[in-house]
């Protein structure tokens, strides 16, 4: 995907807010980019544009060769359904709806038949380690589990781009690392991931960090050394084991 000098201007009452003032960025297939910035830096607006939830005021946004900025509302919905997977900070699962039905939702709008829907939803849930919790509703799942259901939902239509907006914002540090492990694994399998976060710890799991400030790109750097979530998990396990041993003594 590539954005070329995009601008986005909102009108709030009489005040014009220039949320993005000419951002150009190319993200190649298989990349893992973390977008950082203070609130008001324009990173959320950028995210909405990349996610085809909104259209730029100026500039072009190419996703796999098509200029998304020129598409109609319904065409955008189609692009969202087929090419983009969303993971949100607040999980955004349908309440009182089972995990499997939540994951089926994106396929419903692509006309996938009932049997195939169920099968693919179950597979996606198994892939994020929730194969035994298909019929649990969000209220019966922990935060980490809910986020994994959301990831399964994002993946189920086999998108080319995964967008994660503060996916660890509501999770404790261990669960955050677990979620990042899933993202890294997916990225290793070839999925392009775009992650918005304000936590440097989390951003360091990406291959590349882009910093936003006042609606423009401030820095754009490759990450090294990159954090590997699986190693961190091992370390955490050892620390816990140590703590348990000490407590026993």
């Amino acid at each position: 995907m590539e954005v070329k000098t995009i601008e986005k201007t909102y009108t709030m009452g009489d005040v014009e807010v220039r949320a993005l003032r000419g951002v150009s960025l190319a993200i190649h297939k298989g990349d893992f980019v973390a977008v950082m910035g203070a609130s008001g830096s324009g990173k959320s607006t950028f995210m909405n544009l990349v996610g085809c939830l909104d259209k730029p005021t100026k500039g072009n946004y190419f996703l796999g060769g098509t200029d998304v900025g020129r598409l109609s509302r319904d065409q955008l919905a189609r692009v969202r359904g087929q090419q983009i997977g969303f993971v949100f900070q607040g999980f955004n699962l349908l309440p009182r709806t089972s995990a499997v039905e939540n994951v089926e939702l994106p396929m419903l709008y692509q006309g996938v038949g009932g049997k195939e829907r169920q099968q693919r939803a179950a597979e996606a849930l198994a892939r994020v380690g929730l194969g035994d919790r298909l019929d649990h509703t969000p209220a019966q799942l922990s935060g980490g589990q809910q986020q994994r259901v959301a990831i399964a939902r994002a993946l189920v239509n086999r998108p080319t781009l995964l967008l994660a907006d503060e996916p660890t914002g509501n999770l404790d540090s261990r669960t955050s690392v677990e979620v990042m492990a899933i993202f890294q694994e997916l990225n290793d399998q070839g999925l392009t991931v775009l992650l918005v976060t304000h936590e440097p710890d989390i951003a360091e799991h990406a291959r590349r960090i882009v910093n936003f400030k006042d609606g423009v790109v401030l820095t754009d750097v490759q990450v090294s050394p990159r954090k590997v979530a699986l190693d961190e998990l091992k370390k955490l396990d050892e620390e816990e084991a140590d703590a348990a041993r000490k407590a026993a003594v």
């Binding site: 909405n48 996610g51 939830l53 909104d54 509302r73 319904d74 919905a77 189609r78 969202r80 359904g81 087929q82 969303f86 949100f88 955004n92 699962l93 349908l94 009182r96 709806t97 039905e101 939702l105 994106p106 419903l108 709008y109 692509q110 006309g111 009932g114 939902r153 239509n157």
Partner: protein, 409 residues
């Protein structure tokens, strides 16, 4: 999203909020139930009124001899004797298309005596068709037929009042001999009670005898003239046809040209017919407006609940849009919910309406009439109410901005 999938989604959403769905439906349930019940009662009443009207004679024609004028002096109607038994027979034989029955009637007053009781009453001479034409069933016994008429048999049928005046209550009546004028007659039947006519006349104060018995024996004439002809048209709507046919036939039989004034008069109960039509129309209009108002109220209930539901589920709408739901999908989803609410409500209302109507039929002995077109029509209207009521809330849902909807708390 196909229709089946949206239906499932709608049902699932409605099940999640059972109480609210139930309350939303309530308006339509009551509307359809009330419509089905009242219409069935109304139609039952209408049918009964129509039946009663018919027994009063909305399908009747009366043919009276006309007036004649000699040297410029006109007599009143009925002064001539130019209607005959043959006229009656001809009408009965030739006008089978519009005429159901013809009764020739002649009258006289007579003193009747039984034992030590006596009474002055009106004696009507006619044929068995009299009972058909006046829709007047017998309470006991059997009517006389052609043979009795031909032989001027000494038999009679008594009206209820005459029975009360002559006989002790409980005493046998059928088979007894009474004297009419000086002619002994055997009582062969009793007419059922008809009560007062609309003019306060006691309709049961009469004796019915074969026409020839009246003319030959009681009046003592060999004339074939009859006092009047009472004609029943096949149905109240065929009265005009019957009148036209009878006029043509009688003119022909009386050797009158087409342009000549008839020497007889035909009267019908057109006023009563009009009144009946009007009352039927009034009932129909009344019921239709009640139905419409209750469906509108029911529709408003659904619209109200759907609007609340759309606001409450803004976030859900945002999620659906984010994962690829188009505006149209959202519109269809909420519209489907509204239509499902209305249809399920309509179905429940239909069942309640049918049960209520049956219950009232047995409990209060009201005639009810459940007609399929009304039931199907009401259901369709309920569905339509769902579409109309659901459209605006659904449109609002479909026009939400996905970003705002996702941010909605």
């Amino acid at each position: 999203m196909n229709l089946f999938a949206s239906l499932r989604t709608a049902l699932r959403a409605l099940r999640k909020n059972k109480l609210r769905s139930l309350l939303a439906m309530l308006g339509i349930v009551i509307a359809v139930g009330a419509v089905v019940a009242t219409v069935s009662i109304g139609q039952g009443a209408q049918a009964k009124v129509a039946q009663q009207m018919e027994s009063l004679g909305t399908n009747l024609l009366m043919v009276l001899p006309g007036s004649i004028s000699t040297h410029g002096v006109a007599t009143g109607s009925g002064a001539t004797q130019n209607l005959t038994r043959d006229d009656a027979t001809a009408i009965e034989r030739e006008l089978t298309g519009s005429v159901a029955a013809v009764a020739p009637i002649s009258r006289t007053g007579a003193q009747v005596v039984y034992g030590d009781q006596n009474w002055y009453t009106q004696v009507q001479g006619s044929t068995a068709a009299f009972l058909t034409v006046r829709s007047w069933p017998l309470e006991q016994g059997e009517a006389f037929g052609r043979e009795e008429d031909a032989s001027a048999a000494k038999v009679c049928i008594l009206g209820k009042t005459v029975v009360d005046k002559l006989f002790v209550p409980g005493a046998p009546v059928i088979g007894e001999q009474i004297r009419v004028k000086h002619v002994p007659c055997k009582v062969i039947a009793i007419l059922s009670a008809k009560g007062q006519s609309s003019f306060g006349q006691d309709q049961d104060d009469l004796i019915l005898v074969p026409w020839s018995t009246l003319t030959r024996r009681l009046i003592g004439t060999q004339s074939d003239a009859v006092g009047q002809l009472m004609i029943a048209a096949r149905s109240p709507s065929q009265v005009d046809d019957a009148e036209r046919d009878v006029t043509a036939l009688l003119k022909q039989r009386h050797h009158l040209g087409d342009q000549a004034d008839p020497d007889f008069q035909i009267r019908n109960l057109a006023e009563m017919q009009d009144a009946m039509k009007q009352s039927t129309q009034t009932i129909a209009t009344l019921l239709a407006s009640v139905a419409l108002i209750s469906l509108i109220v029911g529709g408003i209930g659904i619209a109200n609940v759907m609007l609340v539901s759309v606001t409450e589920r803004t976030r859900e709408i945002g999620i659906r849009m984010a994962v690829g739901g188009r505006s149209r999908d959202i519109l269809v989803q909420f519209l489907t919910e509204a239509v499902v609410l209305a249809s399920v409500g309509g179905a429940i209302g239909l069942v309640i309406g049918v049960i209520t109507s049956k219950w009232m039929a047995t409990r209060f002995d009201w005639p009810t009439l459940l007609s399929a077109p009304v039931m199907v029509g009401t259901m369709l209207l309920a569905g339509l109410a769902g579409v109309v009521a659901g459209f605006y809330p659904a449109l609002r849902a479909s026009r939400l901005d996905p970003i705002d909807a996702l941010r909605f708390e």
